[in-house]
Subunit: 343 residues, 2 copies
Amino acid sequence: MITLAVDCMGGDHGPGVTLPACRQFLEHHPDARLILVGGQDSLQGLVHERVTHVVASEVVTMDDAVEVALRRKKDSSMRVAIQQVKDGVAHAAISAGNTGALMAIARYLLKTLDGIDRPAIATQMPNAQGGATTVLDLGANVDCTAEHLLQFAVMGSALVSVLQDRDEPLVGLLNIGEEVIKGNDVIKKAGELLRSAAKSRDLNFHGNVEGNDIFKGTVDIVVCDGFVGNVALKASEGVASMIAGALKQEFSRNIFTKIAAIVAYPVLSAIMRRMDHRRYNGAALLGLRGLVFKSHGSADALAFEQALIRAYDAARNNLLDRVRARVAHAAPLLAAADAQPAS
Amino acid sequence: MITLAVDCMGGDHGPGVTLPACRQFLEHHPDARLILVGGQDSLQGLVHERVTHVVASEVVTMDDAVEVALRRKKDSSMRVAIQQVKDGVAHAAISAGNTGALMAIARYLLKTLDGIDRPAIATQMPNAQGGATTVLDLGANVDCTAEHLLQFAVMGSALVSVLQDRDEPLVGLLNIGEEVIKGNDVIKKAGELLRSAAKSRDLNFHGNVEGNDIFKGTVDIVVCDGFVGNVALKASEGVASMIAGALKQEFSRNIFTKIAAIVAYPVLSAIMRRMDHRRYNGAALLGLRGLVFKSHGSADALAFEQALIRAYDAARNNLLDRVRARVAHAAPLLAAADAQPAS
């Protein structure tokens, strides 16, 4: 039996989305239990034999500063959901709330694993191979050292080996060219650390990759700092939206294009399904002593259910132990990297 | 009469692409002259009353290190083309060659404008408004200070006011959120400098923008460091290619989808035309005492002609003087920014 703690109040839509998603999820997962966290009245919308309600009196809003979320709202649904993981009552917590607050509260309550300085946010993006590329970090860390990027690579490898069942997932370092001389000092040093890690068989390093490689599917995991990762993710969403908008506009231009749209509808919807970012919802917060998943704030019920499924898969496959084991295995390497003076 | 110096040997295809593009360009621009630079035999493919041939014995390859291009290949077609600008014989130089080498040679021969520490590469990306967003820097500078970002904003404003005829183009600072507290120290300080510049009316600053705003068309100009800009550009190209690939694959799946493709063909090609990145080819190297334009290395004749047109428009509209005037106007601001201790 897998138990997930759900922050039902987070995200743009709150219980209106989270509760229908939870109901769907329970139907599809007969061995799962859910702990729903939120306002007493809000939770009444989902009563189920495998559901427990835990009341929390506060809600972290999208505008709340991290400090407010962390210090003042001690009874927020987000915090109480993560507390269930800390207390060992739930295997994982899921929230669609404020990312900065979620990271801060999760880090404060759960602490980081030995050998990890900073947790990272890892998400999946669809690629041209028909699979998905895992990218981390995505916004938790705006300034990263080479050592952090190495830690991200180790944690990302654990995530992909668990969720996609790959023993030696291939890691790429996001850069502005494939040559080792490319990039700034942090990136060059990270490249050196990753090559050492590959030599000691702590991970499978491909080398530098460029922005387009995320979508080509050149590697399984792309490592970057949170600033670059966030820009790459949002720029990509921007392009996809622009193309979707252009498709709609061109197909609704006149009666002939509208007929073409009807004929092409099955094909167009197959493409939309393939590109549907909702299928990739659910980012893992890695490097903590507990499992926490982040849903996109604007997720609808289908997307939020994906985040629940991802957390469920991670819990069932012992992601936490696998990350811990990988990090422990790489401990001499991580310690050596930390001790090394900046080159 | 506008005279352009063309590095005919640069790019993946060399004269096979550059000469047909030059021929097309000459047909469409009766008041333009071209100085073709390259190997003696290679240039024979285009003889024209408004064309001069200048022979250069060497070629900078895509793999050449910057040092090799700069110090050893002193008779390269790239360098000789830029020399035409320095000598006042051509109004602008265009090359599809190695970006790093082009930037280094251009900077070495032409020098930067007073008040500009580093030249930047500015390109246009299509946006959902049906227009284009100018983004800089795109790879010239992997580590930027806040002062560099301010310089990019000033130069980008000059470029857009010239090429798109906008008096007060709107500038956005690429960040991971709209709030002023977002980002690392460099970005936060750049935000402060840009707000001061807006107060003193040196530019029209919108505030922070995110990756998707490039394609929404929220602002006319997006300013970022070269690393982030390069990743955003390539990630965007990656998404667009993936979607184009998916369209092709889904429409060729079976006889029914192939019929749908025929019916939808006019609409699909209208969309492809709108998204065609070749239409946006031709990036400006800004901040130099001379005009240099960079074409994508893989450009075909249509794309390379766009780069020629862009250089022609820039020369005809005195881009150089406009950038110089803007930078001079902002000189007290740029000097103050440089003098200010890091906050």
